[in-house]
Amino acid sequence: MTAVGNTPASTPSASTPPSSPPSPPSAFARRDGGTRQLAGTGVLLRFALRRDRVMVPVWVAVTGLMVLSMPNSLRGLYGTAAERADLMRQMNANSSLRALVGPVFDDSLGALTAWRVGVYAGLLAAVMSLLVVIRHTRDEEESGRLEVVASGMVGHRAPLTAALLTAALANGALALLVTGGLAGQGAAGALAFGLGIAGVGMVFATTAAVIAQLTESARLARGLTAGVLGAAFVLRAAGDASTNDGSSFLTWLSPLGWLENERSFADERWWVLLLFVGAALVQGAVAYALAGRRDVGMSFLPTRPGPATGRLATAGALAWRLQRGSVLGWSIGFFLAGVVYGGLTEGAADLVADNEGARQIFERMGGRSGLTDAFLASMIGMLGLIAALYVVGAVLRLHGEETSGRAEPLLANAVGRLRWAAGHLTVAFAGSVWIMLLAGVGFALGYGKEVGPILGACLVQVAGVWVVGGVAVLVHGLAPRAAMAAWGLAGAVLLIGWIGPALDAPQAVLDLSPFGHLPKLPGGEMRWTPVLTLIGLAVVLVATGLAGLRRRDVVVS
């Protein structure tokens, strides 16, 4: 590893007292001469909170809503203590479902809530924290904005401190919301659960803080931190698949496993909170040590040089080159998700068959007949919703290229706007077919039956995905300054599809999402009319957006 951040501020010399510790390797040259490493933290914190004034509250509210809605929907499904005890027994007996959500420790509504949403609330808190921390650290450095900030009265460690404090405030707000909202199920359990979710958040906030010191690119830092989070999920899943009380060594390796092992609402183990505190402190200390010892804008993992000559010859090739990494990531994710959920199908159907309420909800969410079909349909539907995020991200690359100023010189070449857009839109729209197809192959491999119907069901989702993508093209073409609103649409569609049925939302609301109109496959009857209508709508949206793009000014910053 070649370290870049070595500007020795004090070299060991005769003036160094003999008792001082040996000088560290040059890569970590000491730079603790600065007495005001934290100067300016307050200003930066206020600035960070102002920049995050929309994203963080929305994220906290959505995560909180997901948690707080759960006791109600569980009460509807498992109204009696006997039903809940039954659920707990069956759950803990089914290793594949334990892998998905973890074991149940008690049959109270509170404990079932913590079981059902714990892993996912922890994931959401972790993703929020990693986004916040990297946004205010590496993103700022990579863009060069930090350079100006750092030239003011700002200490070396102030930006990192402000970022971590922002994450701490966000996670604190989430803990408060969860504790307050679940207090009715038991104050101690609510407090433990709220603190645990915030604990997962802070562990990944500090992980992100360390990784942000290592990479030069914010995108890479986000990807690596998300990879650590994915590994934490897999470790916990593997541990829970092998034991039914969370005692596996693998589970204990994962912060998500700690949240589970805290046993909120089931005779809480408060000492587990120390694990969160300890991990956050250790990682925070490492990040601080690194942050104080490297140059602004530099990293410990410098970028490798690229080729001196290039083979890119068209705007389409460039679009593919820019997006191929993301397509690869989504492909792997969707394929693996297909394999995992496909493998869970038999067990899940057995379990659900025993519970009338769960069967109803599964049927509402997806299927008509046959519980395996219902399970498959709801899982495939969920992946369809997630693919909507992919398509929005891929379409909005156009927006990113434009606002960053990279599109301007590109379009000053012999590249028409439509040709420029076509490259990215092909990646977006063909890519969404591709990842749904891969998910289908994964399902087919994991489940081993019904290959044709499963593939068909996956492809039908594409109609919904395309409509969301079409809206993104439309907004980018007609109102480029509002392009980010397309994320709001994808989020709304996800919310409607994900928790709408569980909340018993009225049909009018469910109908707002294009996915609500798709036939429930496999198992249901294939209806071509809504599918073709949605595809037609997507085509119209894309065409209108492109027409707008041709007519409007290129956005200049």
Binding site: G306, P307, G310, R311, L322, R406, V556
Partner: protein, 326 residues
Amino acid sequence: MTKANPAIEVAGLHKSFGRTHALAGLDLTVETGEVHGFLGPNGAGKSTAIRVLLGLLRADSGSTRILGRDPWKDAVEAHRRIAYVPGDVTLWRNLSGGEVIDLYGRLRGGLDPRRRAELTDRFELDPTKKGRTYSKGNRQKVALVAAFASDVDLLILDEPTSGLDPLMEEVFQHCVREERDRGRTVLLSSHILSEVEELCDRVSIIRKGVTVESGSLADLRHLTRTAVAAELASPPGDLSRLPGVHDLDVQGNRVRLQVDTDKLDAVLRSLTESGVRSLTSTPPTLEELFLRHYQDDVRDAGGADDEGAASGGGTDAHAQERTTTR
């Protein structure tokens, strides 16, 4: 249109962003084969005009032709023969400089690999670095190498040397001269007056979206004043009665004065009548030329609409104008 097909022809160009009138009737003619300086204070509308010429922005009204084509409707065909260097080059973080140079070349009329290698060398550019690791000057070099190595007829350079060191500035000027020698047309927007003076055949000065001067540097110099100092054989006649004379200062046989350059002839005639012992005449510098136009902005911002009514100006140019004798 007297000459054959100007490379750029703009007349009465208007472009507004909301309530801001960025261009309010701009005129610009760039003849084929010339290096044309495009000057104006910050916010005068230079970059907006260039973006209209490149078909990135749509004109509200006025006529625009670039290489004989409509820049909006025929953008792609026109761009085949154009290379553009923006003032602030942004690169893709995961593409090397070499990849970007080759891509831009292929997206234009093609790239001469020998010239590319030579230019990379002359600009001392490392083409293997990735976009995010280049400094500002090096990012400019990537775009400059791509532009100079491309097979095109027209180069549009929007403050292309920001961030270049003086040595590289030298290389840049050399390259522009080579381009002119090869018969190519260059539109050079710049704030560096020495660069403009060194390179440009003609210049256009714009202010608040309107062209205020256009012509060769020699033409423009005629619009300003020449400083004259002379020692005469006998006291001069009544010079103050001559048109275009300012700041007249007569001390016995010595005379110092400023004269509008196009009125120089009459002043010299009058001086020779008294017998000239010695004479120095200083032509106006380009700086003075620009300050005159640039400072109109300052004055307008001050609320005065009449030149003579300007007050409190602290610069020499102002002082001279305000102390006009007669």
